[in-house]
Structure formats: structure tokens, C-alpha cells
Symmetry: C2
Subunit: 209 residues, 2 copies
């Protein structure tokens, strides 16, 4: 197997391997060219495949993007769980969860795909993104707040995620350049936890009956 290729399953059928390769190149082209210059031709050229193959496997352009989004979601999901299995519920764990979320969310491929999903909401790509990625992340954090004794775990989860994304998210989406992204992400979480600290203290002192 050529190095550098991200193969998911060891025993994938040739067809599955081909599809995975095509989707990897889809993400790569998306990342390299942005949405404007993204085209089926570019994907085919990058993957050294024929357009006919693309259409055979994915039907049309929307189908290809749909499949690429699902593949990305599959890649992000384990990132969310990283390093969380054994830790007990706690604010520190919240920090870790937040970092995981931001790191998955701001993978270059994730940014590129989210841009596309935003640009054409009508294709159903936007709702799919919400379902596959956003809602799943919210579910994680919601469980966390429930464990911390919140009376409104879902609302708290959305507030927390909104706060750690903050305006940084908007700037990233809008293409404002961002050197030092990792450091900015950590700062963002620090600020969010600072503002939220009194609330979390209140939760700890008055646990839900």
C-alpha cells in the first residue's frame, strides 16, 4: 500500500479502496482550490481517474460532495473522543473536549467542506453537515453538562460550544488569515472557561437533586 494514503479498513474491497481514494482527492482538491475552482475535472485529474468513474460511483457532483462529507465526519468522530475514555466528568474534561472539538472543526478539510456546505444550503449539504458533525458534537458536550449537574444541559452545551468558537469561527470562515491557529484555539477555550467559571462553580455547589 502506498504510504500517506488513509485507508480506513484493512480488508476493503477494491471498489471501496477506489472510492476512498477518490474521496481523499476530493477533499484535497477542495482544500487546494477552494470552492470556486472546485470541479469534477480537477478531482478526476488529481486522482488520475476518469470522470466516468466519478459519475459511476457518486452519481453527480452533489453525490460526490455528499460522500466526501460523510467521509470527513467519519474521520472527525474519533478526534472528538480522543483522550476522554477514562477521565471522570469534570471541568478539566470539558477543556479537553473543547480542544478536541475545535481541532476537528478547524481541520483544513473541515473548513473547506463547511464553506461549501454554507455556500449551497439548498443542496442539502448544509443540513447533512449539521446532522453528521454539529449535532454529534453537541450531543457529546450535552452529556458532559448533564454529568456536571446542569439543569439545561443542551442549552449549556450550545452556549459552551458557541463561546469557544466565538468570533474566531467567523473569522476563519471569512478567510481572515490566522497564523498560530493552535495557540488561538487554546486562548479561546481559556477565555470561555474564565467567563463560565462562576457558573460551573455554581453547578458544583448546588448539584441538581
Amino acid at each position: 500500500m502506498p504510504p500517506g494514503q488513509a485507508a480506513l479498513a484493512d480488508h476493503a474491497s477494491p471498489a471501496d479502496q477506489l472510492q476512498a481514494r477518490l474521496l481523499d482527492h476530493t477533499l484535497r482538491v477542495l482544500l487546494r482550490d477552494g470552492y470556486q475552482r472546485f470541479s469534477m475535472n480537477a478531482v478526476a485529474a488529481s486522482a488520475k481517474a476518469s470522470k466516468e468513474t466519478l459519475y459511476r460511483h457518486f452519481g453527480d457532483k452533489a453525490g460526490l460532495l455528499h460522500a466526501a462529507l460523510e467521509r470527513l465526519a467519519a474521520l472527525i468522530e474519533p478526534l472528538l473522543r480522543d483522550g476522554l475514555d477514562d477521565a471522570p466528568t469534570s471541568p478539566a474534561r470539558l477543556r479537553r473536549l473543547g480542544r478536541n472539538y475545535l481541532h476537528g472543526c478547524y481541520l483544513p478539510e473541515a473548513i473547506a467542506l463547511q464553506r461549501i456546505a454554507i455556500a449551497d444550503g439548498e443542496q442539502g449539504l448544509g443540513p447533512l453537515f449539521v446532522r453528521e458533525i454539529t449535532e454529534r458534537a453537541i450531543g457529546f458536550v450535552e452529556a458532559e453538562f448533564a454529568g456536571l449537574g446542569s439543569e439545561h444541559p443542551r442549552a449549556d452545551a450550545e452556549a459552551f460550544l458557541g463561546m469557544i468558537q466565538g468570533k474566531l469561527h467567523e473569522r476563519i470562515m471569512l478567510g481572515t488569515v490566522l497564523p498560530d491557529l493552535d495557540r488561538r484555539l487554546d486562548e479561546q477555550i481559556d477565555q470561555a472557561l474564565r467567563v463560565m467559571a462562576p457558573y460551573l462553580t455554581g453547578l458544583a455547589e448546588n448539584p441538581r437533586p
Copy 2:
């Protein structure tokens, strides 16, 4: 009057009136057709103008969108200030400011334009959006937190805005339909202020020296 810079005065020159009309139709078409189907032809048809006129006034497509964004920013700016002139600095004022921000931010035209700005960050439209709209709003809220005695007014402002936008912003951008938007916005602010309340109380009890 010599053909100087476009003035926003009531007595605009015919050329300015025409430009304003063209930009209004630009926003309208953007809103109606979305980004995918947005075209110079559609704008010209909607405004019953000729393409030549569009190109004469705005140079090219990017120039038209640029001008439309600036016009939108000019429309949104007074919304931010609405009802705030006489109120003293207070958490209640914060709520009002948040509502104003969300209402301006989720004007249908603003959503459509932000989608475009996100889709092609390379055009410089994204950074322009950040400069003209995002940063301006942050500045407002920052002053508010400074008035409330925060030691990190800017970070607090970003956290507050991020929280009131929360995941609703992502869902809106991603095209998940949203009936009852106004009610959702109010809920969003309620939740944010609930989570932030202990922090604000702390600010009130320990004002900055």
C-alpha cells in the same frame, strides 16, 4: 455638484440614486436566488438595467459585491445603536445590544451576503465583511463590558457574541430551516445571559479598581 464621492445625504445625485437602486437589486437577487444562481444577468434583469451600466458603475462582479456589502454595512450600523442612546450601562442594556446585533446579523440579506463572503474568501470579500460588520459590532460590545468593569472587555465581548450566536448561527448558515427565528433569537440571548449571570454578578460586586 461635481461628481465627487458618493454621499449618503437625502439629496443624492441621479448617479448615486441609480447606484443605490442597483445595489438594492443586487441584495434582492442574492436573497432570492442564493449564491449559486447569482449572476450579473440576474441583477441587470431584476433592476431593469443593462449589464453595461452595472459594469460602468462597479467595474466587475467582485466590485458589485464589494459595494453591496458596504451598503449592507451602512444599513446595519444604525440597527446596532437602536434604542441604546439613553440607556445607562447595565446587563439589561447588554440584552438590548445582543438583540440588536442578532437582528442585524440575521437579516435575510445579511445572511445571503455572509454566505457569499464565506464561499469566496479569496476575493477579499470575507475580510471586508469582518472589517465592516464583525469588528464594528465587537467594538460596541467591548465598550459595554468595559463600562461594566470587566478586566478583559474585548475577550468578554467576543465570548458574549459567540454565545448569543451559539449553534444557531451555524444552523442558519448551513441552511437548516428556521421557523420562528425571532423567538429563537430571544431564547438564545436568554440562555447566554443565564450562563453569564454569575460572571456578571461577580463584575458588579468586584468592580475594577
